[in-house]
Each structure stands twice: as C-alpha cells, then as structure tokens.
Amino acid sequence: MSERSTSAPKKEYVRFGLSDRIAHFLVMVSFTMLVITGIPQKYVPANWAEVMVLWMGGIERVRIVHRIAALVLIAASIYHVLVAGYNLYVRRAPLSMLPKWKDVTDAFETIQHYLGLREEPPKYDRYNFAEKLEYWAMVWGTLIMAVTGFMLWNPITTTKFLPGEFIPAALAAHGGEALLAFLSILAWHVYNVHLRTFNRSMFTGKLTREEMEEEHWLELERIEKGETPPLIPDPRRRMIYIPLAVAFTLISLFLLYLFVTYEETAIATVPPQPVEVEIYTPATPTPTPKPDLVHIFYERKVEARPVTHDIVAERRDCLFCHGLGRLDPYSPIHAELGLNNASCLDCHAPEKK
C-alpha cells in the first residue's frame, strides 16, 4: 500500500453524481428524523421515551414531524426511482447494483481472508456485497415502512379492505422493521463508511485511488483499461422516458396526496359526545311548610280574641305561654290546622286602649 501511495499521483474517481448525492442527503435527513421521532413512540410507556417525546415538544408535534419526515423519505424514494430509471434506460448504465453469485462468494472469501485462510481479499466491483446488502435492505425496509405507515395513517380505509387485525399487525411490523433498520444503520453503515474508514464520497462525490483499490478494484481496473465509456444519453430513449417519468411523478404525487388527506376521522376524530343525563335531579324535593293558617281562619270568619297584654320583645313568642299544656293554651280549633307562631298577631290583634 505504502509503495503505491508514494508512487501514484493523487487521483480522484467520480463515484456519485449530484442526483445520487441529493437523494442520499434527503434520505439521511428524513431517516434520522424518523428514527428520533419514531423510536420513542415505539417505547412510550418507558420513562426515557416519555422524556424524549416531551423534550421534543409533545406527542402531537412528534407525530407531525414523523409524518413530514415520512413524506420526505417517500419523495426521495420516488426521486431515486426516476433517476435510476433515467440512468439505466436512457444512459444505459450497467445494472451494477443487482446481486450476483459473485457477491456470495465474495462474502465468504472476505471472511476467509479475515480469518487468515486466504492471502488476498476478493476484488470488488463498483458495488461490493456489503453495499448491495445495505441498498436492497433499505429498499425493502422503506417499502415495508411506507405500506405499514400508510395502514397506520389510514386505519379506517385499510379496514375497508383488510381484517382489523392488520392494523395492530402493521404497528408491530412498523416498529420491528424500524428497530431493525435503525440498528442496521448503526452496525453496518456507520461502521463501514464512518468508523472503518471515513468515506466522504456521498458528499464530495469522489473516491481516492487507494479507496478505489481497496473497495472497488475491478471497477478501477476497467476504468484504467478504458473499458468504461462515458454514459451518453440516448436521445430517442429520452423522448420515450420523459413522458413516462412525468406520468409516474404525477401519479406518485397524487397517491402521496391521498396518503395524507384521504381519511378524516382516524386522527381528527369527532369529539366524544357529551353524556346526556340530567345532573341535578332531586329525587324527592324537600317540601317547605307554607303558612296558610291565617287564611283559613279568615275564611271561616272566626273571631279571634284580642291580645290583652303588651307585646314586648319577650312576648313575641305566643306559643311560649299559649301552646298546648302551657299557661293559657290555645283552643283546640287551632290544632287541626297546624300552627304558625308568628301569624298569631294577624288574627289576635292587640287590644286597643
């Protein structure tokens, strides 16, 4: 290695075009946001998850950010399909990402090399087995997440076609796949392109010669032999591709629009109806006595005895002395009518002097 670094000039090789880098950037940002807002939702009864959700501004905001990030990821996927279609069909790029038998043997040979059972590591092409594994895992994972995410976002629509159990099943799959994706990114992507070597090609678009030698020997070899002619767009194919791409984009965006707006009452539910029950319904209204004694006597035209003593303050309580069994009890005629102490004076006027 050191021999080459001293002899060969610093030469750089283009690895990713601008469109790939844009797609990667969108996926990187949206995936990170999805993980940050999604993983706490999966574990929410746990304390750390609740703290994270509250720290991010509450469950409503977390859900909205998660959904926006999901849309960005889906949009980036649509963009990637368009770019890949253009490269493969119009520019006639080779199908360098397709898995081949060589990838399987490469993987075994690499392990053998690590274990010291093989002198030289296998020589990799433009995409080695680790990169293909990650790419197709990402495609598969994004598909699962988008489909289950749609089901969770639109549970009422989903259950028009599928049994209800698919909703909790979609939630289980969404959470399981999310954890798998997150941990894979940590264990595979972060190790391979950040820790092992810091591979900047997704941002600069270029690899150095040493990096090419170690990771993409076969591609380097072909470049140096002049076997990789520049990819020139075929004008006839472009004429076919562009309307197809426009149609695909429009349909995708329309589906995306439906994804977001199709259902109304799954998330924005109608408020629970108030319970219709009278709150204050006294079972037996307490009767309050009504003083009707005076009227009855008045109607009967009974002549009342006048009061013969002064009515000073202490003597306002007539029944104190004139109650039954007292000093000067009232006549029995009062008893059948009930008694009202204070109405005495209405009939029994003080004697005029």
């Binding site: 001293t6 029950v277 079972a283 003083p291 008694l339």
Partner: protein, 388 residues
C-alpha cells in the same frame, strides 16, 4: 307569666353556654375530623342536660317561624334523633353549632327563605371540621354555589343537620346520599356492574360515587384534566391483582391501554399539558360512565355486537372490520391476535440475528485490521518506508 319566670328559664341557658365555653374547645379540636374515636368524651354534668332549656321550646310540635319569602321555618327538632347522632353521642350542646344563640329572646332571623337560613348556618361546620370544609371550597359544589346556584350541595345537604351519623355505614349509603340530588345519574349507576353490586350486596370492591369523584373536594368531571387522568383512576382498582382476581378480571387492562395508540396519546398529553382537551378515547368513552356494564353483558357498549357503534362515536366512517383493529386489552398471543404475535416473534428473532451477524463481521474486520497494522510495524523494511 312575669319577668321572673323568664329569668328562671334563662339560668340553664346560661349554664349551657358556660358548658360550651369550658368543654367544647377540648372536644372540638379532638374532633377536627369526621371519623372520631369511639369513646365519647365524659358527659360534663350528668345531673342535667344542658340542652334542656332549648328542647323545652323546640320540641313543641308545629312551631314554625315565618320567613320573608312566605315559607315557614320549622323550629322543632327531634331531640331523640339528635341524641343518637354523632354529635349527640358526644354531648355537644345545641349552642355548639347554634353559636349565635346565647340567650332568650334569640336574635332576629335574617334569612330571606328556608335555603337562605341553611346557607347562613352551615359555615359553622368549619369551626370543628376545617379540613373537610376547606376541601369543599375546591369542589364544584362550591363553584356552583359561588356562581349563584343555591341548590348546590352544602355540608348539611349530604350529612344532615341534627341527625348526622356515619356517612359510610352501610357502604351503599354513600351513593344513596348523592342520589338525593343526582337521581337520574343514580338510576344509571344502579343498573351498572358497579352500582348493582353495591346496592344488592354492599360489595366492598366496587366504586361508590366518591371513589371516582372524590369526597369533599369533588372536582368537575367534565374538565380536560379529569378526562386525561381518568385512566389512572380506573387503573387504580383494575390493576389491583387481589381485587380483580375475585372476579376473574384481567389486570393488564391499564398497561395494554397505555401501550396502545389511545392510551399512549392520553398518557403523554397528561404529562405535557393536562388541561388541553383531547379527543382520544379514555376508558369511559368505550366502556360507559355511570352505565358501565360487564364486558360480556349483552347491553355493554364494548360487547362485540355494540363495538362498532361505540367506535363510530368518534370514528363515524368506521366499517365492520374496524373494531377488530383494537386488540381488546390482550397481550398478543397465538390465540388472540396471532398475526401480531408472529410478526413480533419474527422481529424478535431476525433483529438479533441480523445485527449479531453484522457485528460479528465487523469484529472480524476490525481484528484483521489491527493484526495487519501490528505486523507491518514489525517488518523493518516497512518501518523505514513508513517513516519517510
């Protein structure tokens, strides 16, 4: 009847006042709480009843006092009932509560009507029961009263006045007390799984009104806060192993609710903004409130036949399959929700295998790199070149 006779009546009244002055404070501090020690304080003067003077007049049947409203205020008390009451048993004299009456003639009554009289008098409860009284100030009864609703319950409406006895005995007395004003709600409650058990067998495990609504500080149950905290309220009994085992009810209901969309949302909302209204269903949105039935009861809101109807209260577009999206408080197993169970199982196997495989591969790579670097360091020719 001369002035002298009046004077004679006044002597026991004054003695009664004196008795209150000497003995009442000791009694009342000890009796700050409604539940008091069973031993009554020794009767201060067993020779005679300090209330005799009061009773002499206030037991004459039919005595009333007219009020400006036209109503008549009954002046008669059932003294035997009073002697049986919690206060009577402790020999608290009439003037212990009727503190405004110190001699005869009594001061004029200022109340406009009967309710006015009660509203003027009940605040005296505070003197001996300050904690309970102050708790009621936070209640929605007090709020309604302050807002001008004179029907709102005050101490004496629930506890009575002269005939106060232990409000918890028998247990169903609690809910019967509330039913005095809330008859329509009580009619629902007594048909519910909780109410029927309480009223038919005085069941000690079911909630009475106060177990959910609180006792003195009865809060408004229509607020967002009440709603958001209600699952914890239900969960308090429904996660109690011992209590639920008697009836074969799962104690997972709270945990499975919190782990699910509705419960997660409600739990988080309660943490972040407990006063913000939220539509997400809480226990009683599906199970009912006062009319809550056993889940297999044909009238239950959550029984299979009624579940779609219940879902549609919030999700009007829901179709026949929608209710089965709810896992019915089950932790998925091969019998209940097999699809969910097997998906979880799948990831429980695939995740460790995949990540383990990746980490193993990475470890080989790392070790290989470290070994290669070491070897290079030991080859003299290489060393020289590296140093150049």
């Amino acid at each position: 009847m001369g002035r002298l006779q009046h004077g004679l009546w006044i002597i026991p009244v004054l003695l009664a006042v004196l008795t209150v002055g000497v003995f009442a404070p000791a009694n009342m501090q000890a009796d700050g709480h409604a539940r008091v020690s069973p031993q009554p304080t020794p009767t201060p003067t067993p020779e005679y009843d300090p209330n005799a003077a009061c009773v002499a007049c206030h037991s004459i049947p039919g005595r009333t006092l007219p009020l400006p409203s036209g109503e008549a205020l009954s002046l008669v008390i059932d003294y035997d009932a009073y002697k049986q009451s919690v206060h009577g048993q402790k020999d608290i004299p009439c003037t212990g509560c009727h503190t405004n009456i110190i001699d005869y003639p009594h001061p004029d009554i200022t109340a406009y009507d009967h309710r006015d009289f009660q509203l003027e008098r009940y605040t005296i409860c505070r003197e001996c029961h300050p904690d309970q009284y102050e708790a009621t100030l936070d209640s929605m009864h007090a709020t309604a009263l302050a807002g001008g609703n004179r029907d709102a319950a005050i101490c004496t409406d629930c506890h009575g006045s002269h005939d106060i006895s232990d409000p918890h005995t028998p247990r169903h007395r609690i809910s019967l007390t509330c039913s005095k004003c809330h008859a329509a709600i009580f009619a629902q409650y007594k048909e519910s799984v909780h109410g029927a058990a309480l009223l038919e067998e005085s069941n000690p495990d079911v909630p009475t009104c106060i177990d959910c609504h609180g006792v003195h500080s009865i809060h408004d149950p229509t607020t967002a806060r009440f709603r958001l905290t209600s699952p914890e309220m239900c969960g308090k009994c429904h996660s109690d192993e011992e209590r639920m085992a008697k009836y074969g009810i799962s104690t997972q209901v709270f945990d499975t609710y919190v782990a699910e969309f509705h419960g997660t949302t409600v739990t988080l909302f309660e943490r972040e903004s407990p006063d913000q209204p939220v539509n997400t269903a809480v226990c009683y949105d599906c199970h009912g409130i006062h009319n809550i039935k056993f889940v297999n009861d044909p009238d239950a809101t959550v029984v299979k036949e009624h579940l779609l109807e219940t879902c549609r209260r919030c999700h009007p577009d829901a179709d026949a399959n929608f209710p089965t999206a709810w896992v019915s408080h089950y932790i998925p197993d091969p019998e209940h929700n097999p699809l969910v169970y097997y998906i979880n199982l799948f990831y429980a196997i695939v995740i460790p295998l995949t990540i383990g495989g990746m980490l193993a591969f990475n470890s080989l790579d790392l070790i290989h790199r470290i070994v290669r670097r070491r070897r290079k360091g030991h080859e003299p020719g290489q060393e020289v070149k590296d140093n150049e």
